[in-house]
């Protein structure tokens, strides 16, 4: 702490978040791990104390400089507490010096909530895996097994965008058309409905293989069709676009525990195309393949970073930059219908796997967001949505059950009971 360098600038992907965050769009994601037994808060706290020493980069607060925001390391220690907020509630408050992540527990479940400025899903999963390994080893008095995660403190706090930015001349990106947007009544107080489906993965893999594609593409197509069947015919003049984050670590070597991702916008135009399942699958898989080429991803890093390195952007005071970024973010949000992110397989040391029921992840945003990850033979798909209507979720999960998949749903309470009912009345009675 007593070093001269107790701060770091935000990484490229994080720059947009402080400007864009608001009560209804908190930019906080939650990764939970459910066990088969009750959580012991005392052991969890000591596991967290050990974990934060490894992930020192997470012990930071967000501050405003004159030109940019920055992360400043702090002595403040994270404290575990029983879950007492809505999932993905705001973590960063202006003028208060709180940490940008939070660990809570409820019955059998441990939640790690992270403000996206600090890290992306992959970075946070490493944190949670370390925490769970330490917790379970302490709780069951097992020798702590080694995780397959190896990174020095420098590697973890590395800004990989900066590392891979070459500053070569960039090509002009093609402008995308506005996308079909979801509308409808929202829950009061900016609450989100989190609906998590835990599904045996095998029937889904079989179905994906029948369509000669991957699980991600198959589920993205199911989601796109569910959206297409739900929205008004008229709004489909605009394409339905999914915002799919790509983990850049699998394309550019990096062990950063901070942000290192990019997003692909994959759209399908139901107005001009027939919208058969095969066609949607083909379009998504072609677009994904094109978007994931090394050349394309390098180009994306160049384009993103060029904005940050632009001299005019750098010398504009934050007080002007902030509202400008907010407008840019809103404008960009109009180019996507929903978010769809696959965190992939979460692995744990073999001797600890039997204690864990599931992992799941969800994200606090003001549009429909689908997040998934898998653990052992089960896939967890979480819908987080500010909308009262759950038509898209119903269509999506019914598609999966019609394929013979067993689905187990967990829904977060939002204070209401019936869809379309007098919500405020109900709230007051409770």
């Amino acid at each position: 702490m007593n070093t001269d360098h107790n701060w770091s600038s935000l990484d490229n992907a994080a720059l947009i978040f402080p400007a864009a965050a608001q009560k209804a769009d908190t930019q906080v994601f939650r990764i939970s791990c459910e066990l088969y037994e009750k959580i012991d808060p005392v052991i969890l706290q000591s596991a967290l104390d050990q974990t934060i020493q490894i992930f020192h980069v997470y012990q930071s607060v967000l501050k405003r400089g004159f030109f940019w925001y920055y992360l400043e390391s702090t002595d403040r220690k994270p404290v575990v507490h029983e879950e007492n907020t809505q999932p993905c509630a705001t973590l960063y408050r202006k003028n208060s010096k709180n940490l940008l992540f939070d660990v809570s527990y409820f019955k059998n479940r441990i939640n790690l909530e992270v403000y996206h400025v600090l890290a992306d899903g992959t970075g946070a999963v490493h944190f949670l895996r370390t925490l769970m390994t330490k917790y379970l080893s302490l709780h069951h008095q097992i020798d702590e097994p080694n995780l397959d995660f190896d990174a020095s403190a420098t590697q973890m706090s590395d800004d990989s965008f900066r590392k891979y930015y070459r500053g070569s001349s960039r090509k002009k990106q093609t402008r995308r058309a506005f996308a079909c947007r979801l509308r409808g009544h929202k829950y009061p107080e900016d609450r989100l409905k989190i609906m998590t489906g835990l599904i045996k993965i095998q029937p889904l893999l079989d179905a994906a293989h029948r369509h000669h594609t991957t699980l991600t593409v198959f589920l993205a197509a199911c989601l796109m069709n569910a959206i297409s069947e739900t929205v008004h015919e008229r709004t489909k003049k605009r394409p339905i676009v999914l915002d799919i984050p790509v983990n850049l670590r699998s394309h550019f070597p990096s062990a950063s525990a901070r942000n290192f991702f990019s997003v692909l916008l994959i759209g399908y135009d139901y107005w001009h195309h027939d919208g058969t399942f095969e066609d949607v699958v083909k379009k998504i898989s072609d677009d994904l393949r094109a978007g994931l080429s090394k050349e394309k991803l390098t180009q994306v890093i160049e384009t993103y970073s060029a904005v940050e390195h632009n001299i005019f952007a750098r010398i504009t005071p934050l007080i002007i930059k902030d509202p400008a970024l907010k407008v840019a973010y809103r404008y960009a949000a109009r180019r996507k219908t929903a978010g769809f992110s696959n965190l992939g397989i979460v692995s744990m040391p073999q001797e600890l796997e039997s204690f864990i029921r599931s992992f799941d992840i969800c994200y606090g945003s003001n549009q429909l967001q689908v997040c998934m990850c898998s653990f052992q033979d089960r896939l967890s798909i979480s819908f987080s949505s500010p909308f009262v209507s759950s038509e898209i979720q119903r269509r999506f999960f019914r598609t999966l059950t019609s394929l013979g998949a067993e689905v187990e749903i967990t829904a977060s309470p939002t204070g209401d009971v019936k869809e379309g009912g007098p919500k405020h009345e109900v709230l007051r009675k409770m």
């Binding site: 501050k63 759950s390 309470p413």
Partner: protein, 219 residues
């Protein structure tokens, strides 16, 4: 575990209806999986509504009386401007209530601007430059130094604001040199304090000052 016949999905928790299709569920209750989070009513909301309403009432009454009695001059204008000043200052103070150094600095700045404006529309007697600005700056510097010492505030929390206060303390010097100041005692005190603070800051916190500058002004 509960079950929805229509959706063919199992539902965990205590819901009576399917979260997907709202049909009734069969099966037995389980423990709830999320805590109950009560609705948060915004604190003090009524208090502020009453405060807003009463200040607006005062403003409207004054303007109305003034219009009925036009011979008494434009005194209601001062009331309205006064109310606006009160609200600007209060809103800022509440927004930044967690950051005292920022609040002190900003309040001095707001009050100085408002006093100049006030002085200007009332025939420019110069009291804003003679008294308000130098006294405000002095108070800001002294109080910030005391608060930082007493609460053992870490350097990164106050240094930038202290520097801004010191720089602001130079304004009376400029005013003095350009002959704008009639009554010089407050200005002289403020300038002396400013020079002393700057010296102390460089001597005792020089390293922290450089680090804070690098952080706050990195481009």
């Amino acid at each position: 575990m509960k079950y929805c016949e229509k959706c063919k999905v199992s539902i965990r928790g205590k819901d009576t209806n399917c979260p997907l299709c709202q049909n009734r569920l069969s099966g037995t209750d389980e423990e709830e999986l999320y805590p109950f989070v009560p609705t948060i009513y915004r604190q003090y909301e009524l208090f502020f509504k009453l405060l807003i309403f009463s200040t607006i009432t005062i403003g409207v009454l004054c303007v109305a009386v003034n219009l009925i009695l036009p011979d008494s001059g434009y005194w209601s204008l001062f009331v309205v401007v006064g109310i606006a000043c009160f609200w600007i200052s209060l809103i800022y103070a509440l927004q930044k209530k967690g950051n005292i150094p920022n609040n002190i600095t900003a309040q001095v700045f707001i009050l100085s601007l408002l006093s100049i404006g006030w002085d200007w529309i009332t025939d420019w007697r110069g009291w804003s430059l003679n008294y308000v600005i130098p006294i405000g700056c002095s108070v800001a510097m002294i109080s910030l130094a005391i608060i930082a010492k007493v609460t053992k505030m870490p350097a990164e929390d106050y240094i930038v604001y202290f520097i801004i206060d010191i720089l602001f303390g130079i304004v009376p010097l400029i005013l003095y040199l350009t002959g704008q100041v009639g009554f010089i005692i407050p200005s002289v005190i403020c300038i002396s304090l400013s020079v002393l603070s700057l010296t102390a800051l460089i001597l005792f916190e020089g390293k922290n000052v450089l680090r804070e500058m690098a952080k706050n002004f990195h481009v």
